[in-house]
Symmetry: C2
Subunit: 594 residues, 2 copies
């Protein structure tokens, strides 16, 4: 089944819930994004995703990438689609004019990115990582390097990667060993091997610009001895011309469970010429520019998979005739379409609640991204950064976890047919599995949110997040959903205090509570999202305009969320408070008899 972009809902969230048009009035790139232009762009993006990328999704899964003696080829059709992507100007959408960009808001780029991610996750990674590489170079490199690399990356003619992981250094980058030796001319020579490099090598572009973590000679051990480098596959002269091969080789393509259309590479650097960006030994801090943007991108992919799975499952549930519902609504047919059965609805509504609530969460993050990228005052920028520090691990961690559940329901709704490749549902389940792993596992997101940020700041970092939700609640006191949202927020704060006190006694308490706390925060955040959606839907219904079915469906889904999903916080509150000792008491040696 071909993907169909949910333009109606995208515009509802942008225009009616978050009031992007008003937000866009407040900054230059926003003013470029007139309502007509936004609508035209969304329509074109939908067409590209539906007509070009979606048909290649299965091809990518079946054919995968090939390694012919070190020449990496992408699946049939990817190259043509990538060319079309460049020609349509999609890569340059949200970059400044000085680099040849279209100077539209970052948020519009994020909104648009849901569609390629839903249509073809593996393809969308080739373009998505380039954006993060550009952002990293923009933020940390010299003007010379910016001029040399960015304009050609902005057009999409060159792509980018992030090279962090090594075989023995994953979550723990402090262990990495790749070396950077200084050369006489101010460049460095990089030697080492990286693994799990998405889009690491391929045939889509003339050059690939790697952002690489490595160690300078005599650098301190651990994360404080890591520096960041730009390493092109082919050397680039000062005028931006592509020169000789830079000894960056794909050693192997990994065989994975999903996203087969993306080349996940072992990358070997053999004295490759490299350019330091940021300060020596301060590479991890610079890399977080890339990591944070990528985490928001992963949240988009996770939500996109939920939606894509929901769309396919809903279509099936409307067509498939099995058994009679008690009301026997379709007695002219041999059986009722399964969409009338309560348990099928439970699964579909779970998908819908996560897909549409997750969309609002991601668009809210995108709005904040505009501000961190320069819309608004310095004070507003700081506030937005603080909000994103909290929203990012929630969006990434929570949406990827519920994406596993939601895409599993996509299979389950189809029964045996969902287990068969032809339905496409099992590919959603396989492809989204990586979202809970890459750019930091859910465990890492939990540590980042609860440990590094919230407890690390004595709770201070939470304040703008709490203030945002509380001020929405204060302004909408009459809704039952608002009352419940605020109650769950208060419970989150209580739990934060409880864990904080326990962690002061025993540092293991942080990691013991981390994932459950992250999920609790996610359910609270999604409650806030659904309370906002319900408010906007009610406003539209009260105004008596068209499309009331759409808005009533929003109210029903909000009710479903508050009655059947938010209660998950009850269990989480208990498990969070159960403490670390039920995890730590068991002896490593006797964990299992294996």
């Amino acid at each position: 089944m071909t993907y169909k972009a949910p333009l109606r809902d995208i515009q509802f969230v942008m225009n009616e819930v978050l009031d992007y048009p008003a937000h866009y009035q407040t900054f230059a790139e926003g003013q470029n994004a007139t309502p007509d232009l936004v609508e035209a762009i969304l329509g074109e993006a939908a067409k590209f995703a539906e007509q070009v990328l979606s048909p290649l999704n299965v091809v990518g899964d079946r054919e995968g990438c090939r390694n012919n003696d070190g020449q990496i080829t992408t699946p049939p059709g990817f190259k043509e689609a990538y060319q079309q992507n460049i020609e349509s100007g999609w890569p340059s959408l949200a970059f400044p004019e000085v680099y040849g960009g279209q100077a539209l808001p970052s948020s519009l780029g994020q909104v648009v990115s849901e569609m390629p991610a839903a249509a073809n996750h593996a393809f969308s990674m080739y373009t998505g990582l380039t954006l993060g590489a550009i952002a990293t170079i923009t933020a940390h490199a010299s003007d010379d390097l910016k001029q040399r690399f960015i304009p050609t990356m902005v057009t999409g003619q060159w792509s980018g990667t992030m090279c962090l992981t090594e075989a023995h250094a994953g979550s723990d980058l402090g262990l990495l060993r790749t070396k950077a030796e200084p050369n006489a001319d101010g460049t460095y020579s990089i030697t080492g091997s990286k693994i799990f490099i998405s889009s690491g090598d391929h045939d889509l572009t003339d050059n690939i610009i790697h952002i690489v973590l490595a160690r300078l000679p005599d650098a301190p051990k651990g994360v404080t001895g890591i520096s960041l480098f730009v390493v092109p596959k082919f050397k680039v002269d000062a005028d931006g011309n592509v020169g000789e091969f830079n000894n960056v080789r794909c050693g192997a393509i990994e065989e994975k469970m999903g996203i087969h259309g993306n080349a996940t590479c072992v990358m070997n650097f053999d004295g490759a010429e490299a350019y330091l960006i940021g300060k020596p030994n301060k590479g991890m801090a610079c890399m977080f520019t890339f990591i944070n943007e990528s985490r928001l991108g992963v949240a988009v992919s996770a939500q996109a998979h939920i939606y894509a799975s929901f769309q396919k499952a809903l279509n099936y549930a409307r067509e498939r005739l099995q058994m009679r519902a008690p009301q026997r609504k379709f007695s002219e047919k041999a059986a009722d379409p399964i969409v009338v059965h309560p348990d099928v609805r439970r699964m579909l509504l779970t998908q819908k609640a996560f897909a549409e609530g997750g969309r609002l969460l991601n668009y809210r993050c995108a709005q904040l991204l505009d501000i961190t990228h320069g819309a608004g005052s310095e004070e507003e920028k700081q506030l937005a950064n603080t909000l994103l520090a909290v929203f990012t691990p929630i969006a990434k961690g929570f949406l990827s976890e519920v994406s596993l559940e939601a895409t599993s329901y996509g299979i389950q709704i189809l029964g045996g047919h969902g287990f068969i490749k032809e339905s496409g549902l099992e590919q959603e389940y396989r492809d989204t599995r990586i979202t809970a792993i890459y750019e930091g596992t859910t465990g890492i997101q939990g540590l980042d949110l609860l440990g590094r940020k919230i407890l690390g700041s004595g709770g201070k970092i939470l304040e703008p997040f709490v203030e945002e939700i509380r001020s929405f609640c204060t302004n909408n006191v009459k809704s039952a959903y608002v009352t419940e949202t605020e109650a769950s927020l208060n419970q989150l704060l209580d739990l934060t205090d409880i864990i904080g006190a326990a962690a002061a006694e025993n540092p293991d308490e942080v990691n013991a509570a981390g994932v459950d706390y992250l999920m609790f925060a996610g359910y609270v955040t999604l409650a806030y999202c659904w309370a906002r959606i319900a408010k906007s839907a009610k406003t539209a219904i009260d105004s008596g305009g068209a499309d009331s079915g759409f808005y009533h469906a929003k109210l029903h889904t909000a009710r479903f969320y508050f009655e059947r999903i938010l209660p998950r916080t009850q269990t989480l509150a208990t498990t969070i408070q159960s403490g670390a000792s039920n995890l730590m008491a068991i002896d490593e040696q006797y964990f299992g008899d294996c």
Copy 2:
């Protein structure tokens, strides 16, 4: 990594928790199963699973089955392994001597079956379905048919299948269309097409005996017009000699998400000679012999996947060095093995709690199976049947659902390495996904347990189940786990009443609550299992024998279960009571904008 059979824990559950030796004293087959013989059999089964089946698991996944012009071949090595399986006498283990069996208890067959299922699920299905086919013929066919088919199936020389599903008839078998026309000689001619037939065709045996649902001419519509037939791939004469081809063809092999080593076939019957078993139009009732045994088999596979995933993940967690735990236990190493990190332990303990608790649940079902197969009095048999009616959907539905979660943790513990095929963890996740679908989806298990059985009997069918748990609790009042088990059981009964009252007003309430109720019942059942395990472990510790590390690990895992898993019932109690209207209110038409 090669599978290693958990013989220590298998024997703990058999001997120390369930006291199989005493149970075996009470019936003839049991008396054949002397402790020495059982130990020898388990040891041989472990070797076969570890040395023969486990190495073929990856081969089966990668190579899959092939269709060469209608000749179906299994993956390389499967044929030789199957021959070895026959030569070792595994298929005949738990069948009566009259059919050439070894006259050992059914329960021993179930216990043994965990090992091949954990080592190679796809392979184990070729032998597993044969057992159900034999049971069905034994229970419902004429003596002539029994003699003709069973002895050769018991040796494993012929295999069996169950042919239920058609393209338009899955959960709703009442819609099936395959026709059975009576012939003058008392046989029937079957014409129709079945889909999703596991082990439907292959090169492992000389003949394949299909158990087929079809309609006689002028049969009533729906499930009351379905009859059951035996249909061999090659005709078999009265002396059991294989004759001419019976027009049963594999039309295609399905491409699936997992269990690639098993041939899932479209099976076309083109006037195939068939033998009626059971009464005309009473086929569904007879088929439940097969379905119920198969559901217990699925519960074994689901639990086996949990264990296999746990074993691989635990080995990795003991070797993989990443980051420092707060206690810094391994300061001589570059980092700590990740098994010391609280969140990794949380995932491992979840796997362990489900794998070992699920093992007890399955072995308890196996014990009951002995009684339904003839051990004990008629009264005991009825009681065992009633208990199994409740335990079966719980074991099948609950264990398959938590298997999805547990195998997902298997991936997550390995991070990016878990997403790579080489680790084997992603295969566990893909292969076990079918367990929540085939032999009735989780939704169907929920309807079966709550609707058909519990509410259908006015709650009566629950009584022996409640009595079993309550009498254990009454005899062990001093344990906190017992108190909590009983409290959760009482809550289950309260919820049953609440749903029953609601369903009397609105029949949609049954299906609306079904899956959550099934899961609630599952958590209660597993609480009972862990309370029993804790009791046995404590007894062993108090007696001061060897192996105290093993028993202490049991106590720690029980604590983990009660503190971190059982609280899931809190959320379920809320969602169950939230009622059907939050599912039914939304209009089909506006479910989504697609």
